[in-house]
Symmetry: C2
Subunit: 124 residues, 2 copies
Amino acid sequence: MTRTRQAVLALLQRTRHPISATEIFEQLHQEKVAIDLVTVYRTLHVLKDLGLVLQLDLHQEGLARYELKEGREHHHHIRCQICGQIEDLLLCPLKKITKLIEQRTQFIVDDHTLEFTGLCPQCQ
Amino acid sequence: MTRTRQAVLALLQRTRHPISATEIFEQLHQEKVAIDLVTVYRTLHVLKDLGLVLQLDLHQEGLARYELKEGREHHHHIRCQICGQIEDLLLCPLKKITKLIEQRTQFIVDDHTLEFTGLCPQCQ
DNA sequence: TTCTTATTGCAAGTTTATTGCAATTACCAT
DNA sequence: ATGGTAATTGCAATAAACTTGCAATAAGAA
Ligand SMILES: [Mn+2]
Ligand SMILES: [Mn+2]
Ligand SMILES: [Zn+2]
Ligand SMILES: [Zn+2]
């Protein structure tokens, strides 16, 4: 754990919303932390492998976002189509349906992704 | 509707699985249809705007796939993590949960994406 | 046919992310 | 502390998917 990696981890800790590599890079530079964008990518990769960070690939965004895992349970997200705000949905309605899908398709289901989009209260 | 566009549409009609722009390009070239990759992208854009084609952005694929809309209802997909096979799931378990999410978050929910991944019968 | 507009191909550009490699840094044993 | 070794970093180049500018071509209407 170098100070560079700790800076990225600390930023993720104080950031409430899922953040992209470029946003981490820009934020750290504003805070006078010299770090290359490549290093941000590599650090995120490491943190992901360590199980400290989750990577989110939200629909239609074309970039990856990251959030601290930190004991958080499996959950999903909702994103405002106007302002881009992303909020946690601390629920998963898919446990029962997964079994139905396994029966119907004969697949073994490993994982799923679920995401809602809409208008947040401020943008309505 | 030029013959180029009809060739893309016809390929989508005879293809059973969601297909990417590059795959369309390569398949048409094998069939001796001269078409630029840029034209494939622009054609898919047009067909999407006409409501004839659906764009899918499956998780972790990093590319868009397209399928004929053709009266098909709203549905979701399951993809095999080994062979990449994609199968339709002709169901949507999210109608009720959407109302719950609107109540909890005060968002107006416009849309959702849902995708399952796992192992298909052949790859198990 | 002729005129006008839409479509196409080629080249170049964007964006997000990855890779090669040499320079630097951190860490461990002495 | 010091030196050696391996991990980490920055820079430059590369990759992959997709988009844009623009001139050439093709389609469709009069
Ligand atoms: Mn979250
Ligand atoms: Mn489908
Ligand atoms: Zn879930
Ligand atoms: Zn649905």
